[in-house]
Amino acid sequence: MSPRLKHVFRRAFRSLWENAYLNSVSAGVIAATTLLFGVYLAVQFNLNKMVDTWDRDIHISAYFHPDVPENRRFDVRDEIATRSEVTKVRYVSSEAANEWMQVRMPAMEDILKELGSDTLPSSLEISLTASAARPTAIDAFARTLSVTDFSDVDYGQEWIEKFQGFMAMLKLLGAIMGSLILVAATFLVMNTVHLVVYNRKEELEIQKLVGATEGYVMAPFLVEGLIQGLIGSLLALGGLAAVHRLLVARLKDAFELAVTADLQFLPSSYIALLFAAGSILGVVAALLAVQRFLSKVT
């Protein structure tokens, strides 16, 4: 390591120690901001994952006209099974649908029995590849199913569109809120660093008088900002892990929903993003604060 770099790091660590309180405040603000960012990332990540899972689970239920003969129904099933977008086709007879309904809704068992086993239409349950299960693709696939064979085709299109709209809104809200929080946090950290800079005003003025470049004066503050950012991110990550644990436990206790078991913690790429965000916040705030100070020193 070059002597200049050694001096920079020595000054940075010394200042971190000497201004421990102010530096803790900066790291705390970065931690709070990064935690909010982490929560947003976690929500988005889990919702995306959920959508992916649902996309995989999405299948088309195509209900046959009652007057389509049974051998034609099998021919249609076989024809659909040969399509490249289709992974599986299952024929559900009227009787099987009736039985399934009786099992699922025991309260309606008597009514269903009275109505007879052919009340519910026979159908095909068509599972698609992941790309074909995307909303636009599934819609296009559904349109290719013959209207002469099927009376109704159902794949929850309305629900998918609503959920997609919700996701888009969530992303937009996240972006707006994130920007506002980021600006506020940068301002807060910048002012805290500014206090540290003013604490060392005399020293920095003397450094300039003895021939220090602006880069040399700035460098220790940028190192401090980076360290504050990393510490802040680490704290945020700890907070996020605690919130995740608590949430999983609470949701499990409250609802016993399978979905809560799938509530995942951030993957490593998102954790790296979190650290990058905290570090950038610390460095940028320090840079702005020192630049503001240096612009006033001759």
Partner: protein, 217 residues
């Protein structure tokens, strides 16, 4: 070493310096003198690039200070040692750290810094006291530390703005003797002062300013 051609400095409508033309050779010792507000400090500030002339040309060690960019300024200052009336020492740093600061910004290694700092503390009569802190020192000693910091990187020019202003007679003489010794080693020294007693005791060339004009050189 220093050349000023028709240098004028204005702050709004107020003239701090008017049409100053002067030359100072390598290894020369001179006083910048005159009453308060005559332009002594402005002249010195211009020499180390803290202010730029409004008109005229100012060359310091061959560098045109009147056209110097902010980016080049640190490199000019590395060749100039500066001593202030109020010492400008960092109270929370040891004497060695205060003196070593001028070498740190140059990227000098710790070993070399320690060697040079010990040597210059010896020159100013503070050998072996590098571990002490400025507030524990007398005014004269603090000013000697400031001088040590100014000469630690062996500059070709030493500027001192009222270096004895805060010191009593004996201490002022001590500091002047050190400045004289530094000058004898070949450093150009310029001292701003209005202490006539000191100027008589250490007789050197005088640049006398009145209301921003150079009236005696």
């Amino acid at each position: 070493m220093i050349r000023a051609y028709h240098v004028t400095k204005r702050y709004g409508d107020v003239h701090a310096l008017r049409d100053v033309t002067v030359k100072l050779g390598k290894g020369e010792f001179c006083y910048v003198t005159g009453p308060s507000g005559a332009g002594k400090t402005t002249m010195l500030k211009m020499l180390y690039g803290a202010v730029q002339p409004t008109e005229g040309k100012l060359l310091v060690g061959g560098v045109d200070v009147s056209r110097l960019s902010k980016r080049r300024l640190p490199y000019l200052r590395r060749n100039i040692g500066i001593v202030f009336q109020d010492f400008k020492l960092i109270p929370t740093r040891t004497l060695a750290e205060n003196v070593g600061l001028a070498l740190e910004v140059l990227g000098t290694s710790r070993d070399v810094i320690d060697r040079r700092v010990n040597a210059v503390l010896g020159i100013v009569g503070l050998r072996g006291r590098g571990h002490e802190y400025p507030p524990t020192l007398s005014g004269g000693e603090q000013q000697r530390v400031a001088v040590a910091r100014a000469i630690v990187n062996d500059p070709s020019i030493l500027l001192a703005d009222e270096p004895t202003g805060n010191l009593d007679g004996a201490m002022a003489i001590e500091v002047m003797e050190i400045l004289q010794a530094i000058n004898l080693r070949g450093t150009t020294v310029m001292v701003a002062t209005h202490d006539t007693g000191l100027m008589n005791r250490f007789p050197f060339r005088k640049l006398r300013f009145e209301a921003g004009r150079l009236v005696e050189s």
